[in-house]
Symmetry: C2
Subunit: 104 residues, 2 copies
DNA sequence: AAAACATATGAACACTTATTCATGTGTTCA
DNA sequence: TGAACACATGAATAAGTGTTCATATGTTTT
């Protein structure tokens, strides 16, 4: 029987904010696409078939929450998931959903 | 180096919807409060200092997504986290946030 | 320097959503 | 049966948010 650690008010706020950002399908797709490794904005745009401005806007939010990091390499900017904490979180959640076939 | 399972379009949608619901601080507090065991609506209202109608509205959304289950015992209705999948998810996330003190 | 390329930003709009107020439903007790 | 208790629901509103359009910034190439 696992138990959760007691969270401070601040912890809960941060946690909710993180969830909120993951709660948009477009942002989630962007994050999942960047999970295997750094992706340029252009790659994201082409692969996910989204407008460039939309991707930029979402990346800004994800950056603001330190969920992704962007690094410039000449003309392009490559984004990757910020740290192993975030990627572990995402992978765990992905497994949870994947295993859970108690569909509607 | 862990890898995420490949998710279907439907998986991503469900995952995003779940995150979206967890993304509201009030709902997240309610869920976390119900994590240790079944709580009556009244208990939630008192402990989290929220209005009764607000709690009911949020519980309805959480119920709709099968994140909580409600059981009536005479006058009161007790809510608990739906299954171990959800609670594991929450506990994992709680640990992730808790351990992550790379604050802003 | 200018043009071309890659990405970012700001304003505007449509749409969603959290909260409140008023009221409804179900259950127990007098 | 009626009153009291516990919870749910519907409408209304204020605030937030995703997307698009137009435009700006930064980098390379000619």
């Amino acid at each position: 029987m696992k138990r959760a650690p007691s969270l401070t008010q601040h912890d809960v706020t941060v946690l909710a904010e993180t969830f909120r950002l993951l709660g948009d399908p477009t942002r989630l797709r962007i994050l999942l696409f960047c999970l295997p490794g750094p992706r340029s904005v252009g790659e994201i745009v082409e692969n996910l078939e989204l407008s460039q401005t939309l991707v930029s806007h979402h990346l800004r939010l994800l950056r603001g929450a330190r969920l992704v990091r962007g690094e410039r390499r000449s003309k392009q900017v490559f984004y990757e998931v910020a740290d192993s904490h975030v990627s572990d979180m995402l992978i765990d959640m992905a497994f949870h959903i994947h295993e859970d076939h108690a569909d509607d």
